[in-house]
């Protein structure tokens, strides 16, 4: 089955990005396809490569990048939401791409399910 994932909050402050990550990973492990992970609202902050959590904490930005690397998962950051919040190309961690909101709609059309994680 094809899943689209929408992440609406940044890392750390809300659990949304963690839950989305664990769901995505579990879906991949079960052999499902992840059409796209779309980062909207404060979710765009998940793409900030300068994020440096404490050594005993999880590194969500790096975890998403690794998922893109290992499973070819598409990580799309909404351009309008990102501009407002100061997330630009020079800040993007590996695997993240900035694009338009149309990519979210397309994920909803192409995917069999669209699952939202937020606050």
């Amino acid at each position: 089955m094809k899943f689209g994932i929408l992440v609406n909050e940044g890392p750390f402050t809300h659990q949304a990005s963690d839950s989305a990550y664990h769901f995505t990973k579990a879906a991949l492990e079960k052999g499902h396809e992840i059409v796209r992970v779309f980062f909207y609202h404060d979710g765009v902050n998940n793409a900030n490569k300068l994020s440096e959590p404490q050594s005993d904490d999880r590194n969500l930005v790096g975890m998403w990048s690794a998922l893109a690397e290992e499973h070819g998962v598409e990580l799309i950051v909404c351009v309008a939401a990102a501009l407002r919040r100061g997330i630009k190309d020079e800040l993007l961690a590996a695997g993240f791409t900035i694009s338009g909101l149309g990519q979210l709609v397309e994920a909803g059309i192409i995917g069999d399910r669209l699952i939202t994680f937020g606050d």
Partner: protein
């Protein structure tokens, strides 16, 4: 195919669980995740909302219950514990999925 509702907020802090249950049809599934799992506890001021809705199937995410120290606390009768893999299965078995944020 019936709807999967997810609730991620504590019923003691927000009205999210009540907002969900007011629009959940008999036969739907409701999954409690993140701070939503506090709604699964038996013997609280919020328990009745779920305990009195027999025709909905309730689930709670085990890893979120464990994190909050609730593994040993009694849950409302009829709530099924699942993990992230079970969450994926639920999302596969239902459509659409509505997240009550």
């Amino acid at each position: 195919m019936s709807i999967l509702h997810t609730v991620n907020k504590s019923p003691f802090e927000r009205n999210t669980l009540m907002d969900c249950l007011a629009r959940a049809k008999d036969g739907a599934a409701v999954l409690l995740i993140e701070d939503g799992v506090y709604g699964a506890l038996a013997g609280t001021q919020a328990s009745d909302a779920i305990a009195k809705r027999g025709a909905i199937k309730f689930y709670a995410l085990g890893p979120d219950l464990d994190a909050r120290g609730l593994a040993e606390k009694p849950l409302i009768d009829g709530i099924t514990l699942i993990d992230y893999s079970g969450f994926v299965d639920l999302a596969e078995a239902h459509n659409p999925v509505q997240s009550w944020l």
